[in-house]
């Protein structure tokens, strides 16, 4: 978390995020960008199986999930991640998405974002999905 974000202790606690992407540079960039935006990055994983381990260990509020990864893909990880933590907010973050990917994410109710150098859409989407999940969990 950035020093600015740490200093701001009066607001709600930062959203705890797990980053899942097989490209180390993408993980590094997302960590820096999201920490600048006040998120708490609790873990990183390079494939779906490592994501399950990290989710079990850190119980994140949100997961940024790449879809095409060696080993267990993002597609395969969505169901067990939700089984492990029902209220976790998952945002699919991928380089390209054809019809199949878009339909599959819509069917699973997972918002989909295309990778971009600008982190603003991702930041907004994480906040939106976490807020929606929190609202849905409130009796």
């Amino acid at each position: 978390m950035s020093e600015d974000a740490k200093a701001n202790t009066s607001g709600p606690p930062p959203i705890r995020v797990l980053i899942v992407d097989d490209e180390p540079d993408v993980r590094m960039l997302l960590r820096v960008q999201l920490e600048h935006s006040g998120f708490d990055i609790v873990g990183e994983a390079a494939d779906g199986r490592a994501a399950l381990d990290q989710c079990r260990e850190h119980a994140p509020d949100a997961i940024i999930l790449d879809l095409l990864m060696p080993g267990m893909s993002g597609f395969e990880a969505i169901a067990p991640l939700r089984e492990m933590k029902r209220d976790v907010a998952i945002v699919a973050y991928t380089a390209v998405a054809g019809d199949f990917v878009r339909k599959e994410m819509a069917r699973l109710d997972v918002p989909l974002l295309l990778k971009s150098g600008d982190s603003t859409p991702l930041v907004n989407k994480i906040r939106e999905v976490v807020a929606a999940r929190a609202g849905a969990a409130t009796p």
Binding site: V26, M28, L29, V32, L68, P70, K115, G117, D118
Partner: protein, 247 residues
């Protein structure tokens, strides 16, 4: 689709014009094949470039707004890494479009295979291990051609293997054979058969890493120009790329 996959656009179009005179329905099928190839090429290239280009943009922008020295250094290294990746992808694309852009000049000479293998591996900038066993083995080729062939085939083994890449060379006159063995997920029969099609990327390759599917086809073309060949086969749990060149 395979029938046309190796044709350039111009030769494919000439083919189309020729058969249009004979059979309109065959012309329509050929046009569909050509359109499918074009879509495949655009899709593969777009996919391969998107992650490094967006990463590059994000890192450059973030770098400009970051004060922490360690973070700045890490981002700067990332910018260089991704710029080099984009450069390599562009080189491969140009090679695929016209292999003559890298055809070496000069005459064939006896090239030390082990030294050429180590030099090519160093160019890949990878952390993965590689073992080479080719004492005293030479190939009679133009040095730059062997360098390109090895670079392309080793890059493939590095990207799609899970463990050590093992290189072994032998000579049985008039040929020298260089076998590059890697373990990992084994491609299907279809993927093995299509591996030398330009811009073909199997499911295993797509799930594994970015790429544009030109490494093995271009390596084979270069080997053929030098009087040899590149083939791909399985050996137990490993995939072996075999480069045969004049000894």
């Amino acid at each position: 689709m395979g029938r046309l996959a190796h044709r350039t656009r111009s030769s494919a179009d000439l083919y189309l014009v020729r058969i249009m005179d004979d059979a309109p329905s065959e012309a329509a099928r050929a046009r569909e094949e050509i359109d499918a190839i074009r879509r495949r090429v655009i899709n593969v290239v777009g996919h391969a470039f998107r992650t490094p280009v967006t990463t590059l943009c994000g890192m450059a922008e973030t770098l400009a707004h970051t004060d922490d020295a360690a973070t700045r250094a890490a981002l700067a290294e990332g910018v260089i890494r991704n710029a080099r990746l984009v450069e390599r992808l562009l080189d491969q694309l140009l090679l695929a479009a016209d292999v003559s852009t890298v055809l070496p000049v000069g005459d064939a000479t006896d090239v030390d295979v082990e030294a050429a293998t180590r030099a090519a591996w160093d160019c890949l900038d990878t952390c993965n291990p590689m073992v080479v066993d080719a004492p005293g083995i030479t190939a009679r080729v133009r040095p730059a051609a062997l360098e390109h062939i090895l670079l392309l085939v080793l890059d493939n083994a590095d990207k799609y293997g899970d463990g050590d890449v093992v290189v072994k060379a032998t000579t049985s006159h008039p040929w020298s054979a260089i076998e590059i063995e890697s373990t990992g997920a084994i491609p299907s029969d279809e993927e093995m058969a299509e591996a030398f099609e330009l811009f073909y990327r199997g499911e295993h390759a797509v799930m594994r890493t970015a790429g544009i599917g030109v490494g093995l086809p271009v390596a084979r073309k270069l080997a053929e120009i030098e009087g040899g060949n590149v083939t791909l086969f399985r050996r137990g749990d490993a995939v072996v790329a075999r480069i045969e060149l004049p000894a």
